[in-house]
């Protein structure tokens, strides 16, 4: 088990959210959209030059900014 940020994950890699290292406002906002500690996710893609990261949560595809993605720590095999 390794812990890396969503930014460091490779495309198509699966993982489980270990921690969202951010203020409670963002944690709550992500929580309401289905991104929370313990949730399994798949990273889809990553745009160059600190661009947004896309991931799949359940059946939803989400895009989030680079800064946010770097605060989401994921546990991978």
């Amino acid at each position: 088990m390794k812990k890396i940020s969503l930014v460091q994950m490779k495309a198509n890699q699966r993982g489980k959210i270990f921690e969202i290292a951010s203020g409670s406002a963002l944690v709550a906002r992500l929580m309401s959209m289905g991104i929370y500690k313990g949730r399994e996710i798949t990273k889809l893609s990553h745009f160059a030059l600190r661009g947004p990261v896309t991931l799949k949560v359940g059946r939803t595809v989400m895009a989030l900014g680079h800064g946010m993605a770097s605060k989401i720590i994921v546990e991978i095999e």
Binding site: A25, M33, G38, S45, P52, R59, A63, L64, H66
Partner: protein
Amino acid sequence: MIKKIYLVGNPNVGKSVVFSRLTGVQVISSNYPGTTVEISRGYLRVGVERLEVIDLPGAYSLEPATKAEAIVAEILEKERRDEIVVINIVDATNLERNLFLTLQLIEEGFPVVVCLNMCDDTEHRGIHIDIEKLGRHLGVAVIATCALTGAGIKALIEKVKEIKPSERSQRSHSQRWEEIGKIIEEVQQLTHRHHTLREILEDASLRPISGLAISAVIIYAAFKTVRFLGEGLINNVCDPIFFKLYQPFLEKISSVLGQAGFLHHLLIGELINGKIDFRQSMGVLTTAPYIEFAMVLPYLFSFYFVLSLLEDIGYLPRLAMLLDNLLHSLGLHGYAIIPVLLGFGCNVPGILSTRVLESKRERFIASTIISIGVPCVPLQAMIFGLLGAFGGFYVAGVYLVLFSLILVLGIVLNRTLKGYSPEFLMEIPPYRFPPFFILIKKLYIRIKAFLVEAVPVVLLGILLINVFMYLRWFDLLINIFAPVIQGLFGLPKEAVVALGVGFLRKDVAVGMLGPLNLSAKQLFIAATLLAVSFPCIATFVILLKELGLKSLVNATLIMVSVALLVGTVLNFAIVR
């Protein structure tokens, strides 16, 4: 007693479509989160009663994290639980994420009916939902609907009649997700299927390299289609009607009126070489309808046809993602592309939709950029029509100037305004291919809005201008502004009136430049000035409403300085 029905749900689940179905009120719906930024109200007859139906913006949670969510929470909080029904619209293809809000609504004690929408879309995605079981788990009625076709809407109305408030309870966030996990396991079954072409395309448009390639193709195709449809309509439909059918009729009126005099001046305008010239005569019956119906309307139709198609398919959020980097340097994030694109149709809905952006700072930057650098369809159509006669080079020049202005202005505003730009966070909807009549309906709403709002203003505006011209009331104004117009911008002093009319309507303003016999350079400068200077009055009112007086004054100062600067620089930089 029930008095109101609220439509509540996550963004982009089809609340507006359900609203139209329930009330018959036509509202714009699209396939991207944040289409509804205003609260729409309508009425539904249930038995003998008439209930108010309210369409709220999308929300993921009742504990607000965005402005739209704050509005939803605030409105619902004020209502008495026994006087309202909440129809919770749920995207059946995305049940798990949607249930978070559903559980919150039930826990808060609202009388809830769950409307499981887009049920037609579940089967070929391999999703099977046991609706009865879901209702039992939630303890509320669940109705399967497909709002696009209207299936299930009747059953939904039936359930509204027999609604009961739910019992209040309290769960923590993680308990809620735990509960959802259990429910999903029980009620939803997924069957594995092979990837469809649609999914492959959805995926490709999210990856950096293929995404860029797809966007280049789509933008090129969109632009070509707008041109092809617009020009096609003008050359094959509008112009023949005006020249072959309408002109002979007008020539008769002209000769009856004796080809001169006050009434002739008002209705027909000036004769050019003894004949009516739709582009130059400037009469209420000649140039006014020609501008609106033969120059602007065809492009309005083709632009909104293409935009509506892209909206409904669900391409725009993907474009937003690709442009995120670029827009960050302007102090915005990718999603700002949606207000900008809407602004290309008309600045008013563009500025209204800046509500999807979180901070006041972003909304100020986006609104200012739209009112300065984004020309609306009526203005663009006129620029194509008049300036295009001198060659596409000049038209491209106007766009180049505007695009550079957007970049410079955005970068400067981003550096000078306090605060930072929030980050991109949004759901990317799947591609959808709604039936054609949905597209036609939306086109109808938008074209009708133009006809109702713009055409009377244009007819009345040209009438008044003609009266003033006849009485020579503009002379004083012309002489006051002559030094600026002539000295700085190199335009004839009569152009003052046209530039002033820009405050009323941009299309008429460009039209008024027609009879002045401007050179290509002069027309280029005047058209660019009309685009960057004052927005039209409708945009002004919206800016005041959305930004407040102080920001409006700031935005106006920016506009006036930019216009002065651009006009002068262009005049002295171009040697021709």
